[in-house]
Amino acid sequence: MPTKAHDDDLVMSLVESVLAKSVNDREAYLQTECGTDSELLSQVCTYVQWEQRMDGFLLEPIYRLNECDQPFVPADLLDGRFRIVREIARGGMGVVYEGIDEKLDRRIAIKCARIGFRRRLPPEVRNATRISHPNVCKTFDIYTATTKHGDIDFLTMEFIEGETLAERLRREPLTSDEARTIAQQLCAGIAEAHRNQVIHGDLKTNNIILSSDGDGKIRVVITDFGLASGPESAHSAAEAPEVGGAPRYMAPELWNGERPSVASDLFALGVILSELRQPRTSLAQADGRKRFWKKQLSWKRFGLRSKWERLCARCIDPNPTRRPQNADELLQAVIGPSLRQWFLAATAAVVLVAITAVVTYERGTVPLDSGRLAVIPFVNASRTPETQYLSDGISEGLINALVQLPDVKVIARSSSFKFKGDNFDIRKAARTLGAQTLLMGRVAEMNGELRITAELVTGVDGRQIWGAQYNSKISELPGVQAEISRQIALRISSKLTPSNRLKLAKATKVNPEAYALVLRGRYQMRLYTPESRKKAVEYFEQALGIDSSYALANAELGVAYRVLSASGMFSFSDAMPKAEAAAQRALAIDNDLAEAHVALAGIKKDLWDWKAAEREYRQALHLSPNLAIAHNGLAICLSVTGQYEAAIAETQHAAELDPIGLPTAIDAAAVYYNSRHYDRGLEVLKRAANLDPSAPSTWTWMGIVSAGSGDHAQAVAAYEKALSLGDNTTATQCYYGYALARSGRRVEAVRILERLKHSRSFVPRSMLAILYAGLGQREQAIQSLLSAYASKDSLLQYLNVESHFDTLRSDPRLQDLAARIGLPPSTNAASKEEHRDSTKTRRN
């Protein structure tokens, strides 16, 4: 016979009722309701525990019919009793309506969550109904309305007419008397709430209303206990009050995910008291800190450090245990006489807590399992190409900051930047990148003011984990960026050690103007044209003109010179010393900058200094374990010196971090080619070509690897595709010529050789040697290689692993050359011969 545990009606209604109760009351309630039916009890308990564990999982549909964020509209009758009159206010999460309680015939305020935010109010909100004080908005009760959007909880509250303190402060400064009255009443209201074990949790000038009492005097009313909770109740993650509101009022411990407390309320109160005198508009001044210290000094000079000042400073002490014990203590002080000095202290306090963020909203403060994060390029909301460098730069800056965390795999730029713009499917992106969480955002710029929004969402259902909006000047960008990376790190890393925090904060200590120039330079570098790269060099040099001790600008300059030299734009002998000097300068300034180690490593590799290159790559990875470009560089470096297994391991590591990035695919193909795993190389390239068939370098490498495997006809076809897509570098032409010659089209190969011989553009001698080798002109090939050595041709680094030189390898001059550039005796020769034999056999 089925027990009651199989009665869906009973089980589900019990689950609902239990979830609506506070954690402390649940057990007793269940015992009463289930009695001795242990199976029923266990079923209900299991469902309740699961709800807590799932924390709203799948509850917000990805698509909502009749999407709108107005829970109620005027004239709606809620719960058969409350009539909606009009919407009066709307915040990040909630909407407040004016309404009529038709049963008691009185005007009330009705507050509920916006659609899309939690429809259920935490049971602790009920605590607010306990408070009865003239300075606290009376909360009557919680009800539930059944709507087409599902059940929505709402609060009924005393209706108060007036303006918010925030509006009042914007209008005009308060007089001393007004400020004092408001301060006293605020402290009194909060003290009363705390006496009733009710924490406000979201105290700010926006939820303080200035009304008037019967005699026309100011009446201060604290409203919005929507985020409040009882101090003693134990919360599970599922129902922890949402941390929200304006960060200026948020005590530092709340940023770290701790729950609101008496101490955090007093922090907020301290900030508000300060603002009574110092309206908010003057906060955002970039030089605020400087002015603050100036004032500090002048007060000390005049001996004004008073009891008042100390008290205010105590309120906003980062350490909650050092703040005043309760609001009464503050109240006594506010009533005290030395108001003038208090105002001075208040002014100081305000500057201390000036934070640029204006809104944060949060849907769960529990750090996620460490995992894989993708930073999707921030959308350039201004839509002017001029500001693209900003949105790209912020995203790249965040990636470079977050790769330093040892336990979070941050997807490399070259993969995550494939998802650009507004319209992409979050779940698909997450799946493609293998990322559990995505960081997305928008950047809008107007007259030097930036508005940056950022949000962290889950990849599986796009649920928001964290979000924030920052209004700042371009000059404050480094600080905002550091703040975003800190917020993300808090949520996804379990290893936020002091040293990692320090690394994340390092970005703030740069000259903002120089930083903006570096971002412009980086943007130009990524356009991959010779002209843009020259422009990039100019930007980096300008940045160094502003701040010559800027490590990152030096590192980027080093990379730029190296790339320009490799592409023949700058002569090798001019550019490489400059590149190396810049990278060395960067390291002398900041030896912990991974980008600088990578820059130097690349240069050392081109200078045939394998040991130094390997050391620098390893150092970069020690600093930023998840930096894909360092894994790639190290892989190439290891493969050219014959350490194939280690090279392949590095390649695989890079592929994990950069699953769909082209540079990583190309480097992987090169490593497989160098270690003669042609099949694996082709596999990687085919995948890359599927993702983006328009990238010429994929086809060039397809040609090189095919030629290596002995399939010269396939190589010719691949090179022709690359040429048609615009890759007509001299190197590609040499490889193409080789494949033509080897597939019997000698005449065409010779024509290419003649053209290159008389070409005005720079032809690396090592590449010309490839063409000679293809044509069977051994002596000319060897001579070309010798002159490549003389001109310090960096491509000679591939001497040992380049299969195109296999026919020359028996020449002692080649072995001598390898020894001269520090390469170990070639270990590939044997396998090469074998390989060629096997291809012959196959062909026969």
Partner: protein
């Protein structure tokens, strides 16, 4: 998630359907119950069971565990 749902469609089609109408279509409990011809509380229980299974699969990655 796609793969999991495909598997679910074979083993527990009613769970899969509830996830589709609740999560992908965004129906309310009442609408979903009506659409699937279930009692409201039965729908709610099925929805919870299906979410739990999916949550466990995605969180723990026990891809080989068959639906309860």
């Amino acid at each position: 998630m796609d793969q999991l749902l495909n598997r679910l469609a074979d083993t527990r089609p009613e769970w899969c359907m509830v996830i589709e109408v609740k999560y992908f279509l965004g129906l309310t409990d009442e609408e979903a119950a009506e659409a699937l011809g279930l009692k409201l509380r039965t729908l709610q229980r099925t929805w919870r069971d299906a979410r739990q299974w999916l949550f466990e699969q995605m969180e723990g990655g026990h891809a080989d565990k068959s639906p309860r």
